[in-house]
Amino acid sequence: MLQMVKKVYYIVLLLLLCGCDKIDFKGLVMATGDMVDSRYEQSFELHKGASVASIAVTDSYLFYVSTDAHINDDTRNIKEFANALRNDGNALFGVMLGDCIDKRGSMPLYCDAIDYKADEQKYPLPIFSVIGNHDLFFEGWDHFRNLLGASVYWFETIYDGGKDLFITLDTASGTLGAKQIEWLQEFLASVRDNYRHCIVFTHTNLLYTDTSQVSSGNLPLEETLLLFDIFGEHNVTLCLQGHDHYREDVMFKGVRYTIVGAIRKEFEKAEYLCVRLSDSGVEYEWRYIQ
């Protein structure tokens, strides 16, 4: 009996100490790098609270959204997404909703895959990245910050007569943390009225309305309810989420919540979403990786 207990103890200790290249078991019980409040502060040191991009658009335009690439070695799907985006004359930018990588040290591979390639792509459009929980494994925040930048930021699109607001949140630790929540409330209260649409991007999904994701977590319930309240109160148009790997689309308190299915290569129907924003609202077109 004692021998068995010792074996279990050594196995657990080994898992906590090293994990494997894909799963960082330390994260089950402790933060594996900077905590969310620290990542928020570092993000604001990078952009000083200002918009990271102002994109000129017409009053009706497209952007592309993908999520959960979980890149190991094969970048084919995310490259196809980047090619489709940058060869579409109506699109203005792309967003990757997190879990960009799946394996220790794969962030440079992901960055290379989303870089503009003049020989394959017509338009040098930006792709904004959201941080996901897998991007944090093995102290991945340092790689994310150095290669991609902030995890909490906002940008805007400007058309003749109006603007749209896009907010990217850091939910990779399963909570926004006190500082990010406070900023979000104050920011929406002060600027939301200046914009036509407000779109929020998060990695971790707020919804738990089916059994597609029994084993992996999202936010604590009271934080979810608080976000529902904040988004409803400030008339957020759309909240786009990843993490679940399965598509979901519901309205709650006047806000549309959509979970985008994964684009990872292991998926038979890897997908991404084309969103059209206009005066009449939001329109979707779902596309699949060939």
């Binding site: 594996t32 929540i181 919804l207 992996s216 977590g217 319930l221 009271e222 608080l226």
Partner: protein, 222 residues
């Protein structure tokens, strides 16, 4: 429907006070910090009553300065064995936080022995507000408590991992760690002390601080 549900919750534990054969009444004061809610204090009253040798009900009310009201009731049927007590329970939980009515209905089994208590059950949750509703069709609740001083009559120290303590019903991937102590200086009166730590993101394998609170309370038993 909402009013009936709330009335049922409120009345189910307290309606048995008059005929209770044995029971316990607790008052607790909590104070702590939560990443979403900020600093908070909470006052709760809960009771557990046993009727005959097979039925008991536990329930009560909590008021949280940041979150508002929470009500919960757990009627159960139990059977005593030499090794401990086996119970089958129903779960009713209600909270109207942030203008969203949060109802949960569930049921489970519990086994309480001298050293260890285990609880496992299933619940269904509905979130509703004016014109909108969401359902969470699959949630598991669970709890594991280890009694560290079961042979000391006036003291006990317990360590628990659970997502379903009274007034706290979380999604199954969101457990909290509790350390509680009881002290009964007199037969009928006792004092409780406890701390709770709740991380976020455990099952994301990227956990972070979410909540820490301490509680102190008084207990009367008969």
């Amino acid at each position: 429907m909402k009013l009936k549900f709330l009335i049922l919750l409120l009345l189910s534990p307290f309606s048995l006070l008059l005929s209770a054969q044995e029971g316990r009444l607790n008052m607790n004061l909590k104070g702590g910090n939560n990443a979403a809610l900020g600093h908070f204090v909470a006052l709760s009253f809960d009771a557990r009553h046993s009727l005959e040798k097979y039925f008991s009900v536990e329930g009560g009310l909590l008021y949280n300065s940041a979150k508002g009201l929470v009500a919960e009731a757990r009627p159960s049927l139990f059977c005593d064995f030499p090794a401990g007590r086996l119970s089958v329970e129903a779960l009713l939980h209600y909270s109207p936080y942030s203008g969203i009515h949060n109802y949960a209905l569930g049921g489970g089994v519990a086994f309480d022995s001298r050293y260890i208590s285990l609880t496992m059950g299933y619940y269904y949750r509905a979130l509703s507000t004016a014109g909108s509703s969401l359902n969470e069709p699959f949630n598991i609740y669970y709890g594991l408590t280890v009694n560290c001083l079961p042979s000391v009559s006036k003291w006990d120290l317990m360590v628990s991992l659970s997502n379903c303590r009274i007034f706290e019903l979380e999604r199954h991937y969101q457990p909290s760690l509790f350390v509680d102590a009881w002290w009964y200086p007199a037969d009928k009166y006792g004092i409780t002390l406890g701390v709770c730590y709740k991380p976020a993101g455990m099952f994301n394998l990227s956990s972070d601080y979410y909540q820490l609170y301490a509680n102190i309370g008084g207990c009367y038993r008969w």
